[in-house]
Every structure is written in C-alpha cells, then in structure tokens.
C-alpha cells in the first residue's frame, strides 16, 4: 500500500528537499492518500446517501450541487496535504504546495470515481452527474 501511494504521489516528481524523502514515503504519502480517499468517500456518501436519500432532500441533486461538493472536496484535499506536511514538520519547500495541489487533483478524481460507483444507491441523485 505504501508503494501504491508512493507511485501515485511521485507522479509529480520525487519529494523535495531530498532529505525528507523517507518521511514523505513512509508517513506523509500513506497518510495523505488514505485521508484523501476517506474524505472523498465521506463526501460522496454525504451527498448521495445522506442529503439525497436519508434526509429526503430532493432539490440538491443538480449538476451544480455536485460540482460544489467536488470543489469542496478538492479544497479539503489541498488542506489535508498542507496539514500533514506541517504536522510532520518537514523542511519548508515549495514542493509542499505542489504536492497539496496534486492531492487536490487526486481528490477530484476520487470524488468522481466514488460518485460513479455509488450514485446508484441514492434516491434523488442517482442520475447526478449523469
């Protein structure tokens, strides 16, 4: 699993500065990866199963609403990246922001993936986004 996240996050290049590489690979990438996947899953569950099913809200299912959640998810993913790197006290480098941005993009992807997988179970949003 660490290998998977390492592969995923090093798609944008190896961690900088290089001296922080062990911390990134062993701690930060798995943490951020799992947190982001968990966050995306939670957001998808909230959108599709809480709002659009359990709470019976039938008017929060348009494309723009889904996009709102998508964007919030990406923003939170960005902050997850910043939060984890600062709590691990890695050396300050612009790489932190690149990684967080990349994590936001991954957050977009996870949200989309979970949406597609789970939208069927939603009462009011089973055809959102398509």
């Amino acid at each position: 699993m660490k290998g998977f996240f390492r592969f995923l996050y090093e798609l944008i290049g190896t961690p900088q500065p290089p001296s922080e590489t062990p911390v990134y690979r062993e701690v930060i990438f798995p943490n951020v990866g799992l947190l982001t996947i968990g966050l995306s899953l939670a957001m998808v569950l909230i959108f599709y199963y809480l709002i659009n099913r359990a709470m019976g809200v039938a008017t929060f299912n348009k494309l723009r609403h889904w996009v709102i959640f998508l964007v919030i998810n990406a923003l939170l993913a960005f902050f997850i990246g910043l939060w984890q790197t600062s709590s691990q006290e890695v050396a300050s480098h612009s790489y932190v922001y690149w990684m967080s941005t990349w994590n936001a993009i991954l957050g977009l992807f996870w949200f989309f993936l979970f949406s597609v997988l789970l939208k069927r179970g939603s009462t009011n949003a089973s055809t959102t986004p398509f």
């Binding site: 190896t14 500065p17 290089p18 001296s19 922080e20 590489t21 062990p22 911390v23 062993e26 050396a91």
Partner: protein, 460 residues
C-alpha cells in the same frame, strides 16, 4: 593508617636515599646513593580490589567496572624529586613568585585530592617511591624539594610503576621532566628499547599511557641530558622548560582519569594504548546538505528523538549535481588532542570503495550550530563529505580518525639540550621515549581512535 606507619620510617628512607644509587642519574652531584631495597612494607602496593577496605567508597566502585563508569579505585601521584626538578620548584624567594609548574601541579594535586577516586596516594619518587601525604607532597611542590635525589632512572621508575602500582581501575600519574640521561652516546639509540623493556617487564595486556606536555618557567640549575656538554647550567633558564604528566594504567582507567582530571588545562597530548568508546555520530540530513540524498535507514521516517543515522541513500549523483553530506561527531569524551581541529583535519580519513567520496571540510561547532533547533546542536565537530560517483549496490564507507604521533612531539624533541636557552623548550630524546612507549602500548597496529561505519547506497 599508612601515613602513620610511614612517618617514623622517613629517616630510614632518607638514609636509603643517601645510600641508593638505583635510579642513576650519575652526573648528579656525584652523590652515590645506596640502593635500598624497596621498603615495600611501608608502601603497600596498589590495593588488590578485594582486599581493600576503604570506608569511603563502596566496594562496587573498587571493582573494575568494565565499561568504565564511576570513580576510580585508586590514584597514585608520583612526583619526581631529583635535582633536575628543583628548578621547577624553587624555594620561595623574597619576591614570592612561583613557577607555572608550581601553580599547575599544586592545583592538580588539589583536584586529585578532591576527586571521587576511592584512594589517593602521593609519592615523591627518587630511586624508589617515598610515600607522602597530600599536604607533604603539596608542600614539596610549593616550598621546594627537601632532599633531592641525585638522579632518577626513567626506565626503572616506569618499571616500578607498571609492576607495583598497576591494578584495574587505578592509575599512576608520573610528574617529571623526563630528561633521560644515557650513560654514553652509545646508549642513545637504545633509549626507546630501554623504555619498552621497562614497561614490558611485567606484561600488562591493557597497558596505556597518556602523555601530557606542559612548559613552565624554570629557576635553578638545569642538567642537560648529554654528558658531552656542560654538566649543568646554573641560573637557568631564560626559556620555559617542558615537564610532563604520564598517566599509566589500564587503558580504561587512564581514559577516565584523563577525561576527569587532565582536560581542564590545555596541554600537548599524546596517547598510547588508550581505547576510546565510539563517539556518538550521525549523518545530518538538514544541515548543509546538498544533492539528492536522504537517510537510508528503514525507520528513518519515524524520526525518533536522539536517533542516529549512518546510511546515505542517493537517488541521483553526478559531477554536475554532487551529493554533500555532513557527519556530526560528538567528541567531548575524547581528549583535547583528538578534538583539535588541526589534528582532525590532518588525520580524519574516509575509506571508501567504488565511490569517490572524500572529505571536503572539517569544522567545529559554532554558536549557530549549538543554538539551532536541528540535530546538529548535539555535535561538537562536523565532517563534510562530497560524492560525485556511486556504483550500483550498497557499499560501506569508514570515517576513521587515525592515531598519529602529533606534531608537537617532534617539535619538542631535541638531540642536544646542552644549550637549552638557545634550543628553547625542548626535551632530549622525547621522540625516542615515546617510541618506546608506543611499542608496548598500542602495538604495531596503531588502531584508529575511532571508526565510524557509514553506508552509501543507491536510493530505491
């Protein structure tokens, strides 16, 4: 107990000194001193560990602790009181100025006396040791030698110390000018051999000697070593004259004694046979690091406090993008010689294969490093290494501090001290003396002071 027993025997001793000729410095006043068999009962040999019954220190500390912790069991201080030493300890004249020797040795005696060693014994050594109390010896230092010996034979003294005053967890400190006067010119080449034989007569496997060199002003009569020139120079000297502390004992005790008592005063140092534990060291990934490398240890990411790292995982290295890493060394347990930047720069070596790692610089801790929040604040010295080429696979690299004869020894050695005022502060045949010591203590291997194993590997 011992003191009371020795007092009434002093006259006997004095007689023995007058009569002895064992420690021959045959040019000294022509006095012949009869050899007096060592009044061994007055001067008990160094306590065997089990027999000692001192009340001050617990028995546990008397036993030689293998790792060398805790106070020593016994410290024996031998002050050479031959005539040549009188110049260091002139009787206080009207101007009441003392020599640096007096200042230093008096202070040293006081510190030893206050130290945590279980037993401290003090001796004046002529042809044989004469037991004194602390006050008596201290008085000798301050007030001058009462009955100087005519000559002392260095090998004999060393033999006595190694034979009779050698015990685990104990040291003997010999304070002398170590001017070895050979009988004739033919004996000069054998000086080192004599020393070796003397030290080796009683085979002590863990014998170690630390040599500390000082210089002091000298007021009195100087007796040059060689007979060929003037036998003595009165009203000497315009220049400082060297004197030495030789700390003799088991390697571990010597090390501890050195660290406790002899690091306070700057000195020229040479150490033979003393073994030092590996100092705490670590790579520092956030201190002056250059290039694409990181800690190669598997648990490097945990960043536990106080962890040390010795593996460099290099992801990319080339001549254009070299890798530079700094190894921090905490050398505060080592004696001053091995903490001296000049010595370190000359003697730190990197042994590496299939990579061109080399030491770029050696520098000491500064206020900045001491006050920083990073790991570098715990290290006293830093070694920066640069690598521009690395083969496939992990390879070991050793950072080694060689144990070399320090430069000052040759500077303080002279072949002829007849014209001491012109020669300057030097001692006759010092190098040979130390060659003799080196042959016994330390051996031929000349093991390095410490070896720090590192590993360079390509990053995965």
């Amino acid at each position: 107990m011992h003191l009371t027993r020795s007092f009434p025997l002093l006259p006997a001793l004095a007689l023995g000194v007058l009569l002895s000729g064992c420690y021959s410095r045959s040019d000294m006043k022509g006095e012949n001193r009869a050899a007096e068999p060592a009044v061994t009962e007055t001067v008990p040999p160094a306590e065997t560990p089990g027999a000692a019954a001192p009340t001050e220190t617990p028995a546990a500390e008397a036993a030689a602790a293998p790792a060398g912790t805790g106070p020593l069991a016994q410290v024996n201080v031998f002050l050479e009181v031959s005539g040549s030493m009188e110049g260091f300890m002139p009787k206080t004249g009207a101007d009441a100025a003392n020599t640096r020797f007096q200042q230093h040795v008096a202070q040293f005696l006081s510190e030893v006396n206050r130290s945590s060693a279980a037993r401290k014994t003090y001796f004046r050594i002529k042809e044989k040791p004469y037991r004194d109390s602390y006050q008596q010896l201290s008085q000798t230092v301050r007030g001058g030698i009462q009955q100087p010996a005519s000559s002392t034979d260095i090998p004999t003294v060393l033999d006595t110390l190694v034979t009779g005053y050698y015990a685990p967890n104990s040291v003997s400190v010999l304070i002398s000018d170590f001017i070895y006067s050979p009988k004739n010119a033919g004996a000069i080449p054998y000086i080192s051999t004599d020393i070796t034989d003397a030290l080796n007569r009683t085979r002590r496997a863990d014998l170690a000697v630390s040599v500390y060199g000082y210089a002091s002003d000298f007021r009195g009569t100087y007796y040059p070593a060689l007979k060929s020139g003037p036998k003595k120079i009165t009203g000497c000297c315009d220049t400082a004259v060297p004197y030495y502390f030789w700390v003799i004992g088991p390697a571990d005790a010597v090390r501890r004694f050195d660290a406790a008592q002899l690091e306070k005063q700057p000195a020229q140092q040479a150490h033979f046979g003393v073994k030092y534990p590996a100092p705490p060291t670590s790579l520092l990934s956030r201190f002056q690091n250059v290039g694409a490398w990181y800690y190669g240890e598997k648990d490097a990411s945990k960043r536990t406090a106080g962890a040390s790292y010795h593996t460099v995982a290099i992801s990319k290295v080339s001549a254009k993008e070299p890798v530079e890493f700094v190894v921090g060394l905490d050398l505060q347990a080592l004696p001053g010689l091995y903490r001296d930047l000049n010595y370190l720069k000359a003697n730190l070596q990197l042994q590496a294969q299939d990579t061109d790692a080399k030491i770029v610089s050696v520098f000491g801790a500064s206020d900045q490093t001491k006050n920083s929040s990073g790991a570098e604040n715990q290290y006293t010295h830093f070694v920066k290494v640069r690598v521009t080429k690395l083969g496939a696979g992990a390879r070991p690299v050793q950072l080694v501090l060689r144990d070399q004869r320090p430069a000052w020894v040759s500077q303080w050695t002279t072949k002829n001290d007849s014209n001491i005022n012109q020669t300057g502060a030097k001692t006759f045949a010092l190098s040979s003396l130390l060659d003799g010591v080196e042959a016994v203590a330390g051996g031929e291997q000349k093991a390095p002071v410490f070896t720090i194993p590192l590993t360079l590997q390509p990053a995965d």
